[in-house]
Amino acid sequence: MADTHDQSGTPAGEQMSQQTLIRVIAKMTIPFILVFGCYVILHGELGPGGGFQGGVILAAAFILYGLVFGADELRRRIPPPIIDACMALGALLYAGVGLASVLRGGTFLDYGMLEPDHAGDGEALGMALVEYGVGITVCSVMVTIYLMISERRATVRRGEVR
């Protein structure tokens, strides 16, 4: 029960973290969800999927962790300032690809200029990086929304106790 050290989590989370079955299944599935999310992002430029879908799947893993072990535990694992930074990081990666093509002598978001000798490779690289950026941002925004909602609930409950 090393993970339930923090008793101030949401009551729903506390109850769930005491049920062995839920804990074990969650711990087993989370790595697979993460891998699947990464697969959907990586494969996005060639098949169904992409940054948005993959990002949401990645976020689902974090949210599942939060639901089972409590939002406070999730917040301890990935502190909100880091999630905030990730939101910006993903968008920066996207915009950075655009800027890189400007620095290579093209116009903004001119992926072909990333590899001037092989425009096709440059486009593939540009698209892939943009997808990764979208994935990071979508994932961290979804986690933030979840944390915001759970935080609100926690404050309301604390207010009732007083």
Partner: protein
Amino acid sequence: MDIELPESIRAHLPVLVVLLPLFGGLLAMFTGLVQRGGGVIAWAWSVLITGLMLVCSAAMLQLVHASPEPLVYRLGSWPEAYGIGYSVDALNAYVILVVSIIAFLTTVYAKDSVMAEVANDRHHLFYSVWLLAIAGLIGITVTGDTFNIYVLLEISSLTVYTLVALGGDRDRRALVAALKYLILGSIGATFILLGIGYLLMLTGTLNMGDMHDQLVRMREAGTLANNRTVFVSFAFLMVGLSLKMALFPLHLWLPNAYTYAPSAVSALVAATATKVGVYMTFRFVFTIYGGVYDTSADLQLLALCACLGIVVSSVAAVRQMNVKKVLAYSSVGQIAYIVLGFSLANHTGVTASVIHIFNHAIIKGGMFMAVGAVALRTGGTKIEDFKGIGRQMPVTMAAFTVGGCGLIGVPLTSGFISKWYLVQAAMEEGYWGVAAVVLLGGVLAIVYVWRLIEIIWFGTPDDPNKRVKEAPLSMLVPMWILIGASVYFGIDATWTADSARAAASLLLNGGHG
């Protein structure tokens, strides 16, 4: 003043003015990782970014005035008909400069105000969203692609809703105001999107210049007369844009949003957001539909709304008990002046509109800054907080008073220049009633401004022993630059009038960027 930039930067200016605040905003988020003093770092960073943006937009205006053709920038090197093309001409280079000036000065001003009004752990978010809002506003102005306008409109709107809601740390009513703004703003944006959709259906293109050319071709082929799609798209666009501009009677979101937003946000948004809405309207009415679709009946309706708006909002401003709300209602009235100008559809009228975009931005920006300084020192913006404040904060309140004279349109202030052109435009068309409404609006402005000035200078504070300090220098300097500019451009209006005339000729001669 001449700004020399290397050629490699000059070619990218149209996209740089958007990229600077976009990257700046995203990077500002990382200051949240700094444990202490992150807010100050974020502020200094924002000042740097908006300063660079100001240099770029000033250089761009010079470049536009020097070249006969609009500057065109193709994103991703796609041809404009397929990809996104940014294009800058005399009109939007001017609006971009106005937005950049206000953005830079309000950012300098924001430091102490934000420290006092926004919770400490949210400063990195505040400046990040702040810069993104500026990126959205500049982006709308620079782009020549209608769908891109919608996307950037959403960026700027969503960020402004957030900025308004951040006032919730000081007054919980900000949250309700932001929600109301969000609902009405989203309806407006949806209407604009529908209008753009119908235009796309009709012309098969999203580029403004291209759209105009297609419509001209359709008119020559005779397929445009009685075409219901054109009519519907125009109607959707006008309603959506009127909501975004806060044209009476679609202004209901504005007063509370401006009142409960953090002071710095009120100054930025009041001076820029609705002006960018007016700019969009220019583009749609004149650049896309100009000379193709008979807009005279619709423009008369707009003129009627504007006349009613001037009177109703000025009367409402007289009755408010919160100084920020007085200014907010006055903003509704001033937007109505701008709308009235271009809806007369003659050269002087459009010139008056374009001039007033600048003049109102500097006057209202400066006045909201003065109110923000009082909010910092007394903790409130109610009428009672202003009783006799003139003796304790004379420099701030002098700025407020000069700004108030500008709102009235006293000669030697820039407000006078705008009204002069406006009355002239109405007389050229023989609309004596419209000229009378403009003058009546001035009289009503005397009432609501004088009421405040009397309280500020001659009122007795409720608590005579209460001492408040003058505002800090970081607030006074930007405030006085704006107010000083409003006096300067009231005495020597050459620059504003020339820029506005160039923009008006461009719009009315079917020019498109």
